[in-house]
Symmetry: C2
Subunit: 686 residues, 2 copies
Amino acid sequence: MEELVGLREGSSGSPVSLRELWGPYPRVRRGVRGGLEWLKQKLFCVGEDWYFLMTLGVLMALISYTMNFTIGRVVRAHKWLYREIGDSHLLRYLSWTVYPVALVSFSSGFSQSITPFSGGSGIPELKTILSGVVLEDYLDIKNFGAKVAGLTCTLATGSTIFLGKVGPFVHLSVMIAAYLGRVHTKATGESENKSKQNEMLVAAAAVGVATVFAAPFSGVLFSIEVMSSHFSVWDYWRGFFAATCGAFMFRLLAVFNSEQETITSLYKTSFRVDVPFDLPEIFFFVALGAICGILSCAYLFCQRTFLGFVKTNRVISKLLATSKPLYSALAALVLASITYPPGVGRFLASRLSMKEHLDSLFDNHSWALMTRNSSPPWPEELDPQNLWFEWYHPQFTIFGTLAFFLVMKFWMLILATTIPIPAGYFMPIFIFGAAIGRLIGEALALAFPEGIVAGGVTNPIMPGGYALAGAAAFSGAVTHTISTALLAFELTGQIVHALPVLMAVLAANAVAQSCQPSFYDGTIIVKKLPYLPWIRGRKISSQRVIVGHFMNCTITTLAKDTPLEEVARVVTSTDLAKYFLVESTESQILVGTVGRAHLVQALQAEPPSWAPGHRRLRDLLAGGCPTEPVTLQLSPETSLHQAHNLFELLKLQSLPVTSLGRAVGSVSWVELKKAISNLTNPPAPK
Amino acid sequence: MEELVGLREGSSGSPVSLRELWGPYPRVRRGVRGGLEWLKQKLFCVGEDWYFLMTLGVLMALISYTMNFTIGRVVRAHKWLYREIGDSHLLRYLSWTVYPVALVSFSSGFSQSITPFSGGSGIPELKTILSGVVLEDYLDIKNFGAKVAGLTCTLATGSTIFLGKVGPFVHLSVMIAAYLGRVHTKATGESENKSKQNEMLVAAAAVGVATVFAAPFSGVLFSIEVMSSHFSVWDYWRGFFAATCGAFMFRLLAVFNSEQETITSLYKTSFRVDVPFDLPEIFFFVALGAICGILSCAYLFCQRTFLGFVKTNRVISKLLATSKPLYSALAALVLASITYPPGVGRFLASRLSMKEHLDSLFDNHSWALMTRNSSPPWPEELDPQNLWFEWYHPQFTIFGTLAFFLVMKFWMLILATTIPIPAGYFMPIFIFGAAIGRLIGEALALAFPEGIVAGGVTNPIMPGGYALAGAAAFSGAVTHTISTALLAFELTGQIVHALPVLMAVLAANAVAQSCQPSFYDGTIIVKKLPYLPWIRGRKISSQRVIVGHFMNCTITTLAKDTPLEEVARVVTSTDLAKYFLVESTESQILVGTVGRAHLVQALQAEPPSWAPGHRRLRDLLAGGCPTEPVTLQLSPETSLHQAHNLFELLKLQSLPVTSLGRAVGSVSWVELKKAISNLTNPPAPK
């Protein structure tokens, strides 16, 4: 009986079932159950949402792997067709070009018919969303199928169209996260939490990058650098956890499918470890970075100009508006014709897939030194052991083909970015940068054939290291990020070039950031998406400009004693979403805000027979029309700098300005943007 | 003559000197000059302060290298003394112990006599400073000499006292940055810019880590994770640039001093690259991470408890208050006696320096497999080729020594952290973690001697990989950071274990963060420094608690119509730094703030013969007493969550609360802290 009392007491009020009581070892079982409860509590204490993040990572890894698998099959079929179709040039040309043309036009037609949001990379739009703007439907799950199918077709064209995977994957991942979040909210009945949602979206972006490159570190950093202007260290672990789950699952699937022995990096290199580079080479690495920076400026400028031209040119814009697949097919035909291997494609190494491009460019031997005395023949078939043969031509040598590759791909890439299909633009830029680096590295290897003398052993210069630095520097300059350096290490599984690559990336960024907006910012500008510019170079003058100078003074306030006729007039004559509610017309003391929709509803519910001037807004509010309190307000003395910081940090859209409690104006992105642009280009004095 | 006019016009109004006019090729020279001007403008446009950052990096690298060089000499002298002193045990014991005891007591006495701020790592204090609190004199340059001299002595004791370098270096670097900033401000005459200063301090912290480990990436990330709760991506490049300069210079000096052939990483490893680990090993890596997490909780708990004990115990606290060098000498004597190599030190591998500890623990061979059949003798002298012999004992085997090392170092480390000398606590923790990993790795290598079969070749399990993961996981768990994984790769120059190490670190962090505050937060709590707790697990309830519930309602306001006698009474009876200024006693509309010092000054300047009740505060203000406008104000409806975010993001100390323009209260860290603690422990209902 004592045992029973003890049990009742121990279970702290919860009823004890008979089964529990009669089973063997009640104490032990209770202990175990208590321990499990404790563990469960602990597990769900740090990361209430770790299971959510894991699901996201695993799901994206599955999608990424399945997509790669499918694409591999399609590409293999294309290769087989091209090989088996016979020696007729016409047939071979047709088999080479029809495939990508059909895929691209299908991708364009299919995805655009479902949703207009599926084109492009999606990162610029996500950047806008994460800065607080609501883009309706952009994260709707119904875009998912269109984007996946379209992207698969795009990627299946391989190196012909030369487009990547990262951007759309980030978009896909964020879409799934938003969807899972909505499901979770519905299931638990919790109210939506804006800041938490945002954190999840940033983590999802990291997953997107990590499941493409199997690189959790650079996935997190790259997505932070590209997406947000500020981030909270407390939420850092979310990104890492989700990205690690994704990257692990992605590589695990490759192991299960017997593609590799164990979990390794994607583009494994075998650079020399003991003396990877000599000290004076650091100078060339930095110079390479600066060259990449200058080229990236040229690329960004041309890309933005051409994108603008496509939008404004009457013929092309009409074609794009009426028949997107036709434009896509035409562009794809041009690109495919140029890459036809027996033709110009011979000098573009166009038989290599994009993965093989990178593998060959990161090769640790020097092609220039190897072909100095002997010239390998151009193989009829691709030689998987010696991919670099594709880059060699007896007359032009490798320098000719690499330079030709750079010149041609420069405009081909710009053309490809205008095709309205779901596609990423990071990978082609990464490969382009690798080719720049390789060209300079080979030139150096030829210029200093004696190489590095260290410890009595002579080691030739490794152009592969320069290719790595070039890839990181060029892609870093185009996207204005530094974490591409880390990406280069995670992709290759070697970190021996840590300092030179980082220095090249910094040099490239210094040049690019001072001359051009980043690829994503440029797209935001061309697409006219809303954005908040940042205050360049922390101009001291931004501390002196105060809100009073630039706020919007013509605000519409509704006083509690406003007659209802007046309220009705205001509601019908303006289309603001919210009105400032003030205490009285005379005092103008700010009380809160009232939504237009609520006002309209309340006005409609009023009996139609009110005597004019009789009822006031106060009665409407007393009748249940909801108002919102003002939780944060600026004053006219707040500096532009402080206001900008507030908007950036708290992801605000607009704020009221009060002086001595009176509503005197409001500040939104529009005013801030104007004030910031006046900082750099002061308005002409009146 | 036309040429002359053209010149005058071309030079756009600036006077043309005769020399310029008569020199050859004026056009070309003008063009070149214009180009240089343009380049100069461009260079100083992105990073107005890049030269500042470079100076900081180079300076810190020079200090770090010089310190290492000096320490190396002192340690060599100690080794020589110990070797040459003869075979008498007493003499050898004395030579082993007197050296560190003398160094530590000198370090303690010297640094504490100059400034009380020089003890410990300094990171907790910096964290407080970066969150907006002003700690007077903590960044004064006069602490510099004390910290450098003290740290050199501490590190010269080597593995006897077993302390590191990172924390004080971060402090030194921030000190120099603050000093350079002040010099810059004085030289240019610009007004001080708080937010810019903060950015510089964060960059300086990155330099501190980077110049110790020659690891720019993890330097930046680690300093961000440890120091700040939020950071701005725009200012990211500052940290990278400064850290890269520092790390490059640091390694460059090593090359110039012929210590190495080229720039490489600090603790180079030679792990197998092709199959570094088998897939099932991932499980053991995660388990290792969890074990490290649990051990780190134990460590953090014991460390904090012991630190509290030292502070409260009457005898010890009296000793510490009156004679710090004596306490230091006693603690050093205990530690040195235990590590005496012919004694207990035999089982602690105490003849190894801290660098050699890491080098040996990261060894890619399995000691357990190598000593299974043969047992190497304990060498009389240290064998630089086979450092791991130090870890072997014929009776105890390596498992015995590793376990003994862990048990002993656990409490020895805690004892060492209480010694009041400038010292870092990261490195010992990193080595401790490596030993945990090595122990588990060796056990696995012995348990699965057949190893990994891949491609027909059998590869044994590499315990070095586990040591790497253990080091990253344990140090990550103790400091609550994830970037220690990256640090492990940058330190060893190999990234083949990317995923397993990251997973171990995440597992360790999950355990540690849910159970214990981090090492630095723990120190902040014990030292009673001001700090703002974070809202755990994003409690939804923090959205429901509003400022009105927890604000400080008893505020002192001064109305413009307050008589001066009343003002004088308020100023003398309270000691607030600022008073809220309201429009009138009746309306209580908030106008701004007025500083106490200014008020006192203005009151003292008043003629002593004013008739009571005649003059009011208004007259004082009109007479020139300066007021400050309120730029940001909360309302009682603002949620705790939002207020907390504001304080964190904008690094605020306190904010006024207004309702309908009337000052109704104020919120500061004190109120926020109380409200947050009430969230987790709801107050008993009254």
